[in-house]
């Protein structure tokens, strides 16, 4: 029972936006149902503009669904929620703060002492292997290190679920691999429940337990693929597994990318 407990549960979620002309509403996602279990790593892939980021905003409570229901640990999401951590392609580090002070940022709306905040931030930096850069400023770090600092900031609030919105897409290919491994290790070792939104099919295969494929707008979930590969904590091992390629091929077919390219 405990192992199958859903941390995140979306049922029949539709989100419509008012179009610029104010008449015809734009449906970003339509009747999306998905769940993420405790400790699970789920990836959502889909063409650009399929409403992947809409899902993230809804789960984070920054936006409200037009229809349907979003439950987090059995409680409906009705606004910004302190148990959701999210990370974007941009690291969103505050350039005027040191790294450790940046990690403290998410804790500053909470009633905890300054000393405890610092202690927790330093612990997260340790977990993300950035303890030596606690007093550095963001501009002094590489892009990959900045994303790790952003992960530390996200984990510092001890979220029930971490939402990753293409966190590696701004990095060069090698840094990306190194960072994917670094994230996978951190996430696996602490059994962090994660929802990854990405357009990189290989990334979805090598990092997740389960992949949800979305259609073009209005975004719907058209397929669910469990990834039966070992080494979820080590994407570098997965990437060279022949079966990883098969999953990617399957995703290519599922998204009809071959036909579109032709």
């Amino acid at each position: 029972m405990l192992t199958t407990a859903s941390v995140l549960d979306l049922s029949g979620v539709t989100k419509r936006f008012t179009a610029p002309d104010g008449v015809s509403p734009l449906t970003a996602i339509e009747r999306v149902s998905l769940n993420v279990h405790a400790g699970e790593f789920v990836a959502v892939v889909g063409p650009s503009g399929c409403g992947k980021s809409t899902i993230l905003n809804l789960v984070a409570g920054l936006d409200r669904p037009s229809e349907g229901r979003i439950m987090l640990n059995g409680i409906p999401v009705e606004g910004p929620n302190p148990t959701v951590g999210f990370m974007l392609q941009k690291d969103l580090l505050l350039p005027w703060r040191t790294i450790v002070h940046n990690v403290e940022f998410g804790l500053e709306a909470r009633a905890i002492s300054r000393a405890e905040r610092r202690e927790r931030a330093l612990r997260e930096l340790q977990r993300c292997r950035l303890q030596d850069f606690a007093q550095s400023y963001p501009y002094q770090l590489s892009g990959g290190m900045r994303q790790r600092a952003a992960l530390a900031r996200t984990l510092a609030i001890e979220p029930a679920i971490v939402l990753l919105d293409e966190p590696f897409s701004a990095l060069d290919a090698q840094t990306k691999l190194i960072l994917q491994k670094s994230f996978a290790q951190t996430i696996a070792s602490s059994a962090i429940t994660t929802l990854l939104i990405t357009h990189d099919l290989m990334e979805a295969v090598i990092m997740s337990d389960r992949i949800l494929v979305m259609s073009e707008r209005p975004g719907r979930i058209v397929e669910e693929i469990p990834v039966n590969l070992p080494d979820r904590d080590n994407p570098m091992a997965r990437i060279s597994a022949p079966r990883a390629r098969e999953y990617v091929d399957h995703l290519l077919a599922s998204l009809h990318l071959q036909e579109k390219a032709a």
């Binding site: 905003n57 984070a60 409570g61 920054l62 910004p80 929620n81 302190p82 959701v84 999210f86 974007l88 941009k90 969103l92 505050l94 350039p95 005027w96 703060r97 940022f105 998410g106 500053e108 709306a109 400023y137 963001p138 501009y139 609030i157």
Partner: protein, 294 residues
């Protein structure tokens, strides 16, 4: 005339620190390797060149006009200026005038900056008020603020207040506009991040919006520092009997060209000191922006 000249000369300052600090654009030239002639010069050589040019200029000033038969009541030589400077210090209470100008320029700058920044933040926080007031702000921004000086004198008399008021008015707008602009361009994702962390509106203001606006505020302060001197000068030119601006009109009345030149030089020095002070504060406040990007 002097006011409009100077304000156009100042404008590039508004954009350069912002482009470096506000956005992430690094100002890396496309082809850093070429530029052969200046690229080879060492900083010491450049400094030596600058000093050499200055000396050459002073020498030309000293000897060229007499050689060309220009009388010293049109262009006084450098030594004429120095001689008259000593006379001004001894006979004209120069220190009193300098102190008056410095005090009003600094006070006006501080008050104008504070009000401009405060107004910028208030308008930045309320889209409604900003939209309602924006045509008037634009209008007042374009209006030549120094032209208000005679009006202030009619209202307040021949004392320090009109000068202070002109200075405040002149400093107010560039800072208001810079702060407002930066408030409008704060990264939405940063705000959303703070919202996701359940931060209050005031927390978002103090933790995100105010620090984000710092490069723009500092750019505004730089402009304000130079404008403050213009404001106080115009105020003194138009009315009163103290300050370097007054010495200019007084010198003009006496056909004492050297005195006018000296007052201009001193006003410039005051502007440079004020600007330097702002630049020093900026270097401290914006320490987190790498030097090359500023």
């Amino acid at each position: 005339m002097s006011a409009s000249d100077l304000s156009t000369a100042v404008r590039p300052l508004a954009t350069s620190p912002q482009a470096g600090g506000g956005t992430k654009e690094t100002v890396v030239p496309e082809h850093p390797v070429p530029a052969p002639r200046t690229g080879l010069a060492s900083p010491a050589a450049i400094m030596l060149g600058s000093i050499g040019f200055g000396l050459l200029f002073l020498l030309a000033w000293q000897f060229l006009p007499p050689a060309l038969g220009v009388p010293s009541y049109i262009i006084p030589t450098v030594t004429d200026l120095a001689r008259d400077f000593v006379r001004m210090a001894q006979r004209e209470n120069l220190m009193v005038h300098v102190l008056s100008t410095v005090t009003i320029a600094t006070t006006g700058f501080v008050i104008g900056s504070f009000l401009g920044a405060a107004m910028g933040y208030i308008l930045g926080m309320s889209v409604f008020i900003e939209k309602v007031l924006s045509p008037y702000i634009l209008g007042l921004q374009i209006a030549p603020k120094v032209a208000f000086a005679p009006l202030f004198i009619m209202w307040l008399g021949y004392n320090a207040w009109p000068k202070l008021l002109v200075t405040i008015l002149v400093v107010f707008f560039p800072i208001l506009v810079n702060v407002l602009q930066s408030m409008k361009t704060v990264d939405r994702d940063l705000i959303n991040l703070a919202r996701a962390y359940s931060m209050s509106r005031m927390q978002i203001f103090w933790k995100i919006e105010v620090p984000t606006s710092m490069p723009a505020l500092m750019a505004g302060l730089r402009i304000g520092a130079t404008l403050a001197v213009i404001g106080v000068t115009v105020g003194e030119l138009v009315g009163g009997n103290t300050g370097l601006g007054y010495l200019i009109t007084f010198g003009e009345g006496q056909a004492n060209t050297a005195m006018v030149f000296n007052a201009i030089v001193l006003l410039t020095l005051i502007g440079i000191v004020l600007y330097g002070a702002v630049a020093m504060i900026e270097a401290r406040v914006l320490h987190y922006i790498p030097r090359a990007m500023r």
